[in-house]
Symmetry: C2
Subunit: 343 residues, 2 copies
């Protein structure tokens, strides 16, 4: 029995029809409108489908129906717990509605984003949930042109024409800053985060408003949302001996970088520098609840985004909706100075 790799696969609707003694249209109906078949015919087709292990070809189906039941989630950092959790929410909802999920990672690069979106367009996916990468030149007009539904998560785009689901970044920045102020801290720096990204701007604005209202000067050190950025900025501050009393980190990864750099420099958190950040690090928090965070409801964001995308795919045409979900302040040790160390 040689070459088992060829030939025998490729069961088509015609094979089923012939073997069942019906026309191929009847086989199509078996899948799409089973109620239209007589019980006798239904049973006969069913038997052959099982016997031949027939599975309709999605490419052929999509070619004639114009739908693929394919949906993509495009994120900027596949290793981030925030996006992993979102992904989980999206995936659960997609699966329960019969959509297959394609996961795509842009590594925060607009060029990669563009190339990947092209591939997705080629597949004529039904919709995309997108976190735009940092930078200029996003071209979603291609998606519109091909009738692909779009929902943004976490970050807004300038034209504001798409549905958006995001956590309350402004409140996150504000509440973290307030919390640090409540600890009696004054010299508070905002660290990390990519310029030109809406979520960052909101977080920064929250910080700025809180500091301004309290009458304290601002200290802002932007970068990216990555761990590397947190490390680099902290390194620079430590080297210049210009460390603040406290840091509001733009993301959990930035905070991670800050902690790593602080250990390297022998600087104690929270006693030398207090730290708080946006987004939780759940696994780490379970081992040792250390970082104070403003947590976004990532799973809910994913779930909601997928639900909204499905509505769009199904043709709803109301104007762009912007949904903002509340964040939760979780106070842990990284931001609270210990009594003993107040020396």
């Amino acid at each position: 029995m040689p070459s088992s790799r060829s030939g025998d696969h490729r069961v088509t609707i015609y094979d089923v029809a012939t073997k069942a003694g019906v026309s191929h249209a009847t086989v199509t109906r078996f899948f799409r409108q089973p109620e239209k078949l007589s019980a006798r015919t239904y049973r006969r087709v069913e038997a052959v489908v099982n016997e031949l292990h027939y599975v309709p070809n999605a490419a052929a189906r999509s070619l004639s129906s114009g739908r693929t039941n394919l949906v993509a989630l495009v994120v900027t950092d596949i290793t981030s717990a925030f996006y992993t959790t979102i992904m989980h929410g999206v995936e659960a909802t997609a699966q329960s509605h019969g959509y297959t999920l394609i996961l795509v990672n842009t590594d925060e690069s607009v060029e990669k984003e563009r190339a990947l979106l092209d591939a997705l367009i080629a597949h004529r996916i039904d919709g995309v949930i997108l976190t735009p990468a940092q930078g200029e030149g996003h071209d979603l007009s291609q998606l519109e042109r091909h009738g692909i539904a779009v929902v943004l998560i976490d970050r807004e785009l300038p034209n504001g024409r798409y549905d958006l689901v995001h956590g309350d970044s402004y409140e996150a920045g504000r509440t973290l800053t307030h919390h640090l102020l409540d600890q009696g801290l004054r010299d508070i720096a905002f660290v990390g985060g990519p310029e030109g990204v809406s979520s960052l701007e909101q977080r920064l604005k929250g910080y700025t408003d809180a500091m301004t209202a309290a009458g304290h000067p601002l200290r802002v050190h932007l970068g990216t949302y990555s761990r590397q950025s947190g490390e680099a900025i902290f390194d620079a501050l430590a080297t210049d001996d210009t460390l603040p009393e406290a840091i509001v980190a733009a993301s959990n990864k930035v905070a991670l970088g800050v902690l790593v750099a602080a250990r390297r420099h022998g600087i104690r958190i929270p006693d030398d520098v207090a730290v708080a950040c946006v987004d939780d690090l759940e696994t780490a928090s379970l081992i040792d609840p250390f970082l104070t965070v403003a947590a976004q409801p990532a799973y809910d964001i994913g779930q909601l985004a997928m639900e909204m995308l499905i509505e769009r795919i199904e043709g709803k045409t109301y104007p762009a909706r912007k949904v903002m979900l509340p964040v939760e302040l979780i106070v842990r040790r990284s931001s609270v100075r210990t009594a003993t160390s107040e020396a």
Copy 2:
């Protein structure tokens, strides 16, 4: 200009051909064998393609060519850092070879796995990288029947007919146990992990061999690879007051559960119970290097699995290859008793 949502998308090869004044075959050649076109024709088609933003329809292409350039990664737990890292490796390799990656999560359920594989078969994907869910009744014959390439990761299946990439689980179990024995610990329990899964059996065998060679009795408490399992088993042991001196946890999540439960019971790690586990928790380790682990090279596993899958897709037909990658023991605080606490 109403109803912009319909009509104008759907640029086909014929539109391009007409506008460029050539036949559609020439447009196909523009994409598939550009060297066959005269410079003049090439430029003319190129201009129209750009003007019309034409992107070939992958469904149509796949229908006639029989290939989709779609590849799926099927894992049992999308939130696990181990799989997330693997995913990263797979994704990078897939992207650089022109494959689009579909990510699928089975939540360790064989039924879900079956349903999802059916959906993937419908899409006639070119290949699957699969972590089989715990349990009986895996039916990959469907995949074979449809000529879909398969590479397993992390876990072997009984028939042994597929390519496999995995870390050295046996060595992981053995080296962790040895390490604990070296600390002078004797009463060492193996905790967690799903029965009937090959990676677990190997880890367990490593533990068993090490303990037997040292002449110590075994203590084995199986479950799943999840955090819940670690918590539940530790809870039971603590309640019965039968805690061991040390624990080899079957996975990082199990260890996480152990740590959480230990804190709840007021039991100190490592001084009351030492802990070590398979697979690192990278983020947590950066904040606070605590858990001793035997780390599998997850990124490499993903990368290698994808490379092997591509070879299969391209028709290589050597017998099933089994690739085992070494693990690395990383000793941290969770397994080493502090001098002061030796009281």
